[in-house]
C-alpha cells in the first residue's frame, strides 16, 4: 500500500504522542539532531500534562528544507505511542495523516479518527531489541525511515547521549532504532520524504530551545547569580545554570520560596553581582514587593517570567500570554522597568543580553517575558546569528566621598558596590537622601522620585522598535508580541493579503516612539494575543490612544497554530469577526 505522505513539499510534520515517562524527549532530541545533521531545518514544540507518568503528551517536529520556527496544526505523521490519544491531537488527524501505532496498545481507539492507520508492533520490535522500554527508539527509527535519514548516525547519537551508562544501553537503543528504520523505509517504499540532496550544509547547526536561549543570553551578558524556586515552565533556566555554575562562575541557589529568590537577587545586585531570577506568574506575583525594592534601591535585577495560564495555579504546564500587565504594574509605588518578549531563539539570546544591559545601565529591574510554548520549543539556528553584545564594563572603585544616590540628569547615579573602593555604599528601601539614609523631607522625596523616573526617558530613547513585516503601505495591521510573532508572520505570508502587515513587538515596555505613528497609519488593527482581554492592545491604547479594532485572542492553554492564526485573521479581516479561541 502507498501511504499519503507529503512528497516534494520540502516539509513534513511529525507528531509523537504518548504517556509521560516513555522517553519521548529522547526521541525528540535524537530526531532533531539527525535532521539537522542531514542539512534540514527543524522546529519542535512540546505540550504536556501536569504529571510525571502516564497521561498523554505530544511533541511536534516540523522538518523542512527552509527555516521553520512556528507551531502548525498540520500533522503528516502521527506516532501514537500510548492509548488515550487526547482530543487536541485527534482533532488534527486529517485524511492524509499517516498514523503509526501499535494496535496491541491502542486497540481500536483511532479507528474512525480519520487518517491512514499503520499497525506496527512497537512493543514487540522493542522487546526483540532488548526490552519494551526501547519502544521510543523503535518509533524514532520509523520516523527516520520515513524521512529518509540515515539511521547510522543514530548509533553515534545514542553513544554520546548514554555515555555515562553501560554501553549496552546505547547498543539496545540503536538496535531498536534500526528495527524501526526498516519499518519506516518500508512505509515509504524505500523512498524517504527527504533525500540527501534536500539537505544543505548552510543550515544552522545549533539546536536550542527558548529556555536555553534565554539562559545563554544571560550568561553572555555576564549573569553570575541565579536564585529561583522551581516552577513550571521557568525551571529550565535554573537547571541550566546549575549544571554550568562552576564553568561560568555563577552562584546558583534554589531558595525556600520566591520571596527569598528575589530578595537574594536584589542583595546580590547591591554587592555587584549580575543576578537573574526565573519564575512563572504565581511566583512572580509573590516577588512583587521585591521588584519594588529593586526599583527604589536601584538594583539591576533581571527577571525571567515564563508565563502559563492563570489565575492562580491555572494550567501548570500550558501556555498563555496573560502576565504582561502583572509584569508591568506589579510592585507598589512607581519606578521604571523594561520588558522584553522574544519571539525567536535568536532574539531570546539577544534580548536576554539587552535586558541585562538596560538593567545595569539604568539600575532598575528588567523582565524577560516568555511562555511555556516558547521555552519548550526549539529550532535550529546558526551560531553566527547568535549575536554576542558588548559585555558588562568593569565597575569603578568608589571614591571616599561616594554617595550611592547622587543626582544626575540621566537619573543614573554612578554605580558603586561595597568592597570596591573607599566609599561607603548604602541602599535603602525607604525614601532616602543621596547617601541612602532614610530622611523624611517632602522636597527630597520629589527630587528622588523624579531622579528615578527620569531614567525612563533614556530607556525610552533606547527602546527597540517594533518590527514591521509586510507592505510598508499597509492599511491593516496585525499587532502581536513575544512568542506569537513567528506564528502570525507565517500566517500572514500564507494568506498573502494585500495591504496587511504585521507589527511585532519584542520590547513591550517602554514602547519605542515609532509605535504610535505606525499604528496610526492603519485603518484597522487586529490585536492578536495569547490571553482573553488583549493586554498589549490595552497598553498600546493607553499610550498611543490607538484602539485595536479587532481581536484575536487565544487562551485555551495551547498556543496559536499557524493555520489557526491564518484562519482567524481571514475571518477578522474579511469582517466576519475574530473573537477568541
Amino acid at each position: 500500500m502507498t501511504y499519503p505522505f507529503p512528497r516534494d513539499e520540502g516539509e513534513a510534520t511529525c507528531v509523537i504522542s504518548g504517556a509521560a515517562g516513555l522517553g519521548i524527549q529522547t526521541v525528540e532530541d535524537m530526531l532533531a539532531r539527525l535532521v539537522v545533521d542531514s542539512g534540514l531545518h527543524i522546529f519542535g514544540s512540546r505540550e504536556y500534562m501536569s504529571r510525571v507518568r502516564g497521561g498523554n503528551n505530544s511533541t511536534e517536529l516540523r522538518i523542512s528544507t527552509s527555516r521553520v520556527d512556528a507551531l502548525v496544526d498540520r500533522m503528516d505523521i502521527l506516532v501514537a505511542m500510548s492509548r488515550n490519544v487526547r482530543a487536541n491531537i485527534r482533532e488534527r488527524i486529517g485524511p492524509t495523516t499517516v498514523i503509526v501505532g501499535d494496535r496491541a496498545e491502542l486497540g481500536e481507539e483511532l479507528d474512525g479518527a480519520g487518517g491512514v492507520f499503520v499497525d506496527v508492533p512497537l512493543a514487540e520490535l522493542a522487546a526483540a531489541s532488548g526490552g519494551r522500554i526501547y519502544s521510543n527508539s523503535v518509533a524514532a527509527g520509523i520516523v527516520l525511515g520515513i524521512l529518509g535519514i540515515d539511521p547510522g548516525r543514530a548509533a553515534d547519537y545514542f553513544r554520546k547521549r548514554f555515555s555515562g551508562k553501560k554501553p549496552e544501553v546505547a547498543e539496545k537503543n540503536s538496535a531498536a532504532c534500526l528495527a524501526g528504520h526498516e519499518v519506516g523505509e518500508r512505509l515509504v517504499e524505500g523512498r524517504g520524504l527527504f533525500s540527501p540532496e534536500n539537505g544543505s550544509s548552510g543550515v544552522g547547526r545549533a539546536i536550542i530551545n527558548g529556555s536555553d536561549a534565554v539562559s545563554l543570553g544571560a550568561m553572555a551578558a555576564g549573569c553570575n547569580f541565579v536564585t529561583a524556586y522551581p516552577m513550571s515552565p521557568a525551571t529550565g533556566l535554573l537547571s541550566f545554570f546549575a549544571k554550568h555554575a562552576g564553568r561560568v562562575g555563577a552562584v546558583v541557589e534554589q531558595t525556600e520560596d520566591e520571596l527569598a529568590a528575589i530578595n537574594m537577587a536584589v542583595g546580590a545586585a547591591y554587592a555587584g553581582a549580575r543576578p537573574v531570577v526565573t519564575t512563572s506568574g504565581g511566583g512572580f506575583a509573590l516577588m512583587a514587593e521585591g521588584i519594588s525594592l529593586a526599583g527604589v534601591v536601584e538594583a539591576p535585577v533581571v527577571v525571567h517570567l515564563s508565563q502559563r495560564p492563570g489565575p492562580a495555579t491555572g494550567m501548570a504546564t500550558r501556555s498563555e500570554q496573560a502576565d504582561l500587565e502583572l509584569a508591568l504594574y506589579s510592585g507598589h509605588g512607581e519606578f521604571p522597568r523594561a520588558l522584553y518578549a522574544p519571539g525567536s531563539i535568536e532574539s531570546a539570546f539577544m534580548l536576554a543580553q539587552e535586558a541585562f544591559r538596560v538593567a545595569l545601565k539604568y539600575q532598575t529591574p528588567a523582565i524577560i517575558l516568555t511562555d511555556q510554548y516558547f521555552v519548550n520549543s526549539f529550532h535550529n539556528v546558526c551560531p553566527e546569528e547568535l549575536v554576542l553584545m558588548e559585555g558588562p564594563s568593569p565597575l569603578d572603585e568608589t571614591p571616599a566621598d561616594y554617595r550611592r544616590y547622587e543626582d544626575d540628569p540621566s537619573g543614573c547615579s554612578p554605580f558603586g558596590v561595597p568592597g570596591l573602593g573607599l566609599g561607603i555604599v548604602g541602599a535603602d528601601s525607604h525614601e532616602h537622601d543621596e547617601t541612602g539614609h532614610v530622611y523624611e523631607d517632602f522636597k527630597l522625596r520629589r527630587r528622588m522620585q523624579d531622579k528615578r523616573m527620569r531614567k525612563l526617558r533614556g530607556m525610552s530613547s533606547e527602546a527597540l522598535p517594533p518590527a514591521l513585516y509586510g507592505p510598508e503601505d499597509y492599511d491593516r495591521l496585525v499587532v502581536c508580541w513575544g512568542s506569537t510573532i513567528p506564528i502570525f508572520r507565517e500566517a500572514l505570508s500564507l494568506l498573502n493579503l494585500k495591504g496587511v502587515a504585521l507589527l511585532a513587538f519584542e520590547q513591550v515596555w517602554p514602547l519605542h516612539q515609532s509605535a504610535e505613528q505606525l499604528l496610526k497609519r492603519a485603518g484597522r488593527i487586529v490585536a492578536a494575543e495569547g490571553n482573553s482581554t488583549g493586554q498589549f492592545a490595552r497598553l498600546l491604547r493607553a499610550h498611543t490612544g490607538v484602539k485595536a479594532t479587532d481581536a484575536l485572542f487565544k487562551y485555551s492553554g495551547l498556543q496559536f497554530s499557524v493555520e489557526e492564526a491564518a484562519e482567524g485573521l481571514k475571518g477578522v479581516l474579511s469582517g466576519n469577526g475574530g473573537g477568541s479561541r
Binding site: 550568561m219 562562575g249 552562584v251 531558595t255 525556600e256 542583595g267 561607603i424
Partner: protein, 286 residues
C-alpha cells in the same frame, strides 16, 4: 560609650529615649572596633522595624531592605562577595514573623553571616501589636484579650535547624552583649544572637528590670554540648544568657558554591563568561 570609627556624626536617632536599641547599637559598634574591623569591611543589612533602623545610625556599608527579608539579602551579599563581614539585624517581628521562613532556611544553608535580633517581644514601629515572641497574656490594641499563641522560641528553633552558633544576650548588659556579638562575628558560619531588648513605649511588661530578673548569664556551660544547649534553649524563665551553643565550624554556604571552586574573585570583579557561552553553543551544534 566612647566614640569610635563606626559613629555616624550629625544624625538624629528616631528611637524613643531610653529604648534598649541604643544600648545594642553601642554593643555592636564596640564589638566591631574591638575586632579590628573598619566601616569598609562591614555591611549591615536590615529589614523594617525599629531595630532595623540600626544601619542608619552607624557608619558602614548598609542595605536596608524590606520587612522580613534581611536574611535573604544578607546571604546573597555574602555569597556575592565572601570577603565582606555581613551582619543582619532586625526585630523579633521582622526576623521571626514576616521573615520566619527565611530564618529557618537561612540557618539550614549556613551562610557566614551574623544575625542579631533585637527581641523586644512586641512590634515597636507599628505601635505595639504582639510579636511572635510576645509572652502569653500580653495585651495590645489587637490582642485585646491578651496573646494566646505559644511564644516563638528562636534559640531552640535555630538549634533544630542546625545552627552552629546560638546565643542570647540582654540589651541592658552592654559589655556582656558586646562580647557575645564579638563571638558571633568571629564564628565562621551562621551565628544567631537573640538580644532581649526593652521597648519603653509599647512593652510595659518586659522591662529592663523584668529582663534583669528573668535572665542569668551562663557560667561554666559547655557550649559544644548540643543536648545541653537544647535543654537550656527549652527552659522557660529565667532565660540563660551567653553562648548557648557553639558547634564545629563546618563549610559555609559560600564556601561550598561551585562559583568559587577555582576562583575566589568576588562577583563584582568578574566579567562575562563569554568563552563558556561559545563552548556551550558549540556543544549544541552536535
Amino acid at each position: 560609650m566612647t566614640s569610635n570609627i563606626f559613629d555616624l556624626p550629625g544624625i538624629e536617632i528616631s528611637w524613643c529615649p531610653g529604648c534598649g536599641d541604643f544600648k545594642i547599637l553601642d554593643s555592636i559598634k564596640q564589638a566591631l572596633v574591638e575586632l579590628g574591623l573598619t566601616p569598609l569591611d562591614v555591611v549591615v543589612v536590615s529589614g523594617i522595624g525599629q531595630a532595623a533602623k540600626t544601619p542608619h545610625y552607624m557608619r558602614s556599608h548598609f542595605f536596608n531592605g524590606l520587612h522580613g527579608r534581611a536574611l535573604s539579602n544578607a546571604t546573597a551579599i555574602k555569597a556575592a562577595n565572601p570577603g565582606l563581614e555581613v551582619i543582619a539585624v532586625g526585630g523579633d517581628g521582622d526576623m521571626y514573623g514576616e521573615g520566619g521562613n527565611h530564618f529557618i532556611h537561612t540557618i539550614r544553608r549556613n551562610p557566614g553571616i551574623t544575625n542579631l535580633v533585637f527581641n523586644n517581644m512586641v512590634y515597636g514601629l507599628t505601635k505595639g501589636q504582639a510579636s511572635p515572641t510576645s509572652q502569653r497574656g500580653f495585651r495590645t490594641p489587637v490582642q485585646v484579650e491578651g496573646v494566646r499563641a505559644h511564644p516563638f522560641n528562636p534559640v531552640a528553633t535555630a538549634l533544630v535547624q542546625g545552627a552552629g552558633f546560638v546565643a542570647r544576650a540582654n540589651a541592658g548588659d552592654v559589655e556582656a552583649t558586646k562580647d557575645v556579638i564579638k563571638e558571633a562575628i568571629k564564628y565562621k558560619g551562621y551565628a544567631l544572637v537573640d538580644i532581649f531588648q526593652p521597648c519603653v513605649s509599647f512593652n510595659p511588661v518586659n522591662t529592663y528590670s523584668w529582663f534583669k530578673e528573668n535572665t542569668y548569664w551562663l557560667d561554666d556551660h559547655d557550649a559544644s554540648d548540643f543536648n545541653g544547649a537544647m535543654a537550656l534553649a527549652l527552659s522557660g524563665a529565667p532565660f540563660p544568657l551567653g553562648v548557648i551553643y557553639r558547634g564545629e565550624e563546618g563549610p559555609t554556604f559560600e564556601e561550598s558554591l561551585a562559583a568559587y571552586r577555582s576562583d575566589s574573585t568576588p562577583l563584582c570583579r568578574r566579567g562575562a563568561a563569554r568563552d563558556a557561552v561559545r563552548e556551550l553553543i558549540d556543544g549544541m551544534c552536535s
